[in-house]
């Protein structure tokens, strides 16, 4: 964990800045998975600025905790976090989704420092995480592998192959994060393919499972700490109930869809709102 500096921004401030970075990327492109980014910002703030070890100047540092973005379309959110972490220059965020940018619309490992895997083909991230955790254990490494999944992604069967495997191998270095924002491509997640009871499901697969409000930073901090410090064997999952577009009330109130429509003039309004929320 990075040493806590007396003047270091607080976690809510980190989350606010991640939202701001994401909105600015969305403004440049005029589009983006902004509702997901705003919804997951608190989780990313706690992951990067409370839980994980990393070196901004050396993103491939062997001792780092790994963060796998299985849901590649959340790249806008992760770029925002990587910028806030100093791994990607803030000035580069303007290139998001542009030709020859290191920040493509869907996250890819070869493009971006700090992007551990190429996600986007949903259902793969947790399988790769299992292999990385096995490899880390072979190396007697104490690094953890955090893997961000979404509720819709749980439709993919390979996720459950990996869930069984992680428990079978007692992978206590694996922390899955499930963003339950109740939205996938064709609509409300629970009506596309029902997934509840979720915590019970993971527990039945042999996981240490917690379910928290994914927009409540103190709850997230407690959950990440519990995941790291739990003395039980086996993998850990934190199921995070999040609200899409969190932090921008007029977007939060809008009828939700997988790809939230934002009018050109609304980006600046949203940015002003989040800027105004500075402590």
């Amino acid at each position: 964990m990075p040493p806590a500096l007396a003047n270091a921004p607080t976690l809510p401030e980190r989350a606010r800045r991640i939202r701001l970075h994401a909105l600015r990327m969305g403004e440049v492109q005029g589009q983006g998975y902004i509702a997901q980014a705003l919804g997951i910002a608190d989780v990313l703030a706690v992951a990067y600025f409370h839980a994980m070890s990393f070196r901004a100047e050396d993103p491939a540092w062997e001792g780092r905790d790994r963060f796998l973005l299985s849901i590649g379309h959340y790249a806008i959110a992760l770029y925002a976090a990587l910028a806030e972490a100093g791994i990607v220059p803030v000035s580069e965020l303007d290139t998001y989704g542009s030709d020859d940018s290191r920040l493509p619309m869907s996250g890819m490992a070869a493009y971006t420092p700090g992007m551990e895997i190429t996600g986007g083909s949903l259902g793969q991230g947790l399988t790769v995480a299992v292999g990385m955790c096995l490899g880390l254990k072979r190396k007697a490494s104490r690094s953890l592998v955090y893997t961000l999944l979404s509720d819709g992604e749980l439709n993919e069967g390979a996720t459950w192959e990996a869930a069984m495997s992680a428990a079978h191998w007692s992978l206590d270095n694996l922390v899955a994060l499930v963003d339950v924002n109740q939205m996938q491509a064709d609509g409300r997640s629970s009506s596309v393919l029902g997934f509840e009871p979720l915590a019970e499901k993971w527990r039945a697969f042999g996981w240490h499972a917690q379910r928290v409000d994914g927009n409540d930073i103190p709850s997230l901090v407690a959950a990440f700490d519990a995941a790291r410090n739990a003395t039980v064997a086996g993998p850990r999952v934190i199921i995070c109930d999040t609200r899409m577009a969190r932090g921008v009330p007029f977007l939060e109130a809008r009828e939700k869809s997988h790809f939230l429509r934002v009018e050109p003039h609304e980006w600046a309004d949203a940015i002003r709102l989040v800027e105004g929320a500075a402590p």
Binding site: A110, G123, M132, C133, G135, E161, A162, S165
Partner: protein
């Protein structure tokens, strides 16, 4: 009443491909991998509940703590192999060719190939090497993997070839798909002045009338057929091309350029998308127009049955190869 002639029966999956009396070597892949792992700590073995059926059990017995039984979950196997490679290891991941190519394709494509990770995918039951029917017969695996950017594809002929291919693919930087013969594997190529080189085709015998370009077990068949043709004073050259991708274009073009020879590609694979079409396209692209014929499996779901019956039925047995070449000349 006379008894009806006894019909041939389907062999168990672990049956050897070797003809009666043919020389064989046991589990060449498992032994070659174990030898290599003695000096290369990065090597780990991973399988999807088919360790015994891909000869990986030999490695597992020698290096139990480097063996990962991933369960009957091929997508997980490939994703986890990618993860293992990301952490600096060199996984040899084994299953059957049907499951790797059909079920786990996207995982191999995105988690392994797109990331250019050094995962070696080694798969038993390629083409028509089991009588279990389409569920186990990987008749289109080469077509499937040829379409994947960056994937190196190997189709070895025999135990000698496999023993040579294992260290060669380990030394290769990117991902590799290798077809595997397992169990008591025929031993043929050690009688020739030949050793496996990745990316290279090798002329095993020369002949003036027909050039057979082949891979996998069809090289063994082509060599046997060439002996039969010799008795009819037909000279058959056999060019073994175990690397399907990237093709050894230089050697193939040079051999095919020799005038007056019928060019036949023989492959244990569907006529669509394998070595035959790869060679045909290569010749066309370079303006070569020799007489060209293909010995390959038909574009159909194949029958179940005894392998000798099926190899005759689909034209890839030695006698069928020789008969068809005679017809074409």
């Amino acid at each position: 009443m006379t008894a009806a002639p006894r019909r041939a029966t389907t062999s168990a999956m672990i049956a050897s491909l070797a003809a009666e009396g043919q020389r064989t070597a046991p589990a060449p892949f498992g032994h070659a991998l174990s030898r290599l792992a003695e000096t290369d700590d990065r090597i780990v073995g991973m399988t999807a509940d088919l360790g015994k059926y891909t000869d990986l059990h030999v490695f597992a017995e020698r290096f139990p703590d480097r063996f990962y039984q991933m369960g009957m979950a091929e997508q997980l196997l490939m994703g986890a192999a990618a993860g293992m490679a990301r952490e600096g290891f060199m996984p040899f991941a084994t299953t059957y060719a049907v499951f790797a190519s059909r079920r786990a394709y996207d995982f191999i494509c995105m988690a392994i190939a797109e990331e250019h990770l050094p995962v070696r995918i080694v798969c038993a039951l390629p083409g028509l090497t089991t009588g279990y029917g389409p569920s186990h017969q990987a008749t289109e695996d080469l077509a499937i993997f040829r379409g994947m950017p960056g994937m190196t594809i190997i189709d070895p002929c025999d135990a000698h070839d496999i023993a040579g291919a294992v260290p060669a693919i380990a030394a290769h930087p990117g991902p590799v798909y290798m077809r595997l013969l397992r169990g008591n594997v025929p031993l043929v190529l050690d009688e020739y002045d030949y050793r496996f080189e990745l990316g290279r085709a090798a002329m095993l015998r020369d002949g003036a009338d027909v050039l057979v370009i082949s891979s996998g077990i069809m090289t063994m068949r082509a060599l046997e057929a060439a002996k039969l043709l010799e008795a009819d004073r037909i000279g058959a050259a056999v060019l073994h091309s175990p690397t399907i991708k990237p093709l050894d274009t230089e050697t193939i073009l040079a051999a095919a350029a020799r005038p007056g020879r019928l060019v036949v590609v023989a492959e244990n694979h569907s006529e669509i998308g394998g070595l035959g079409e790869a060679v045909a396209a290569l010749l066309l692209r370079h303006g070569h127009g020799p007489r060209f014929r293909q010995i390959a499996l038909p574009d159909r779901f194949l029958d179940a049955g005894a392998l000798p019956t099926l190899h005759d039925r689909y034209g890839i047995s030695t006698t069928e190869v020789a008969r068809r070449i005679r017809e074409w000349l």
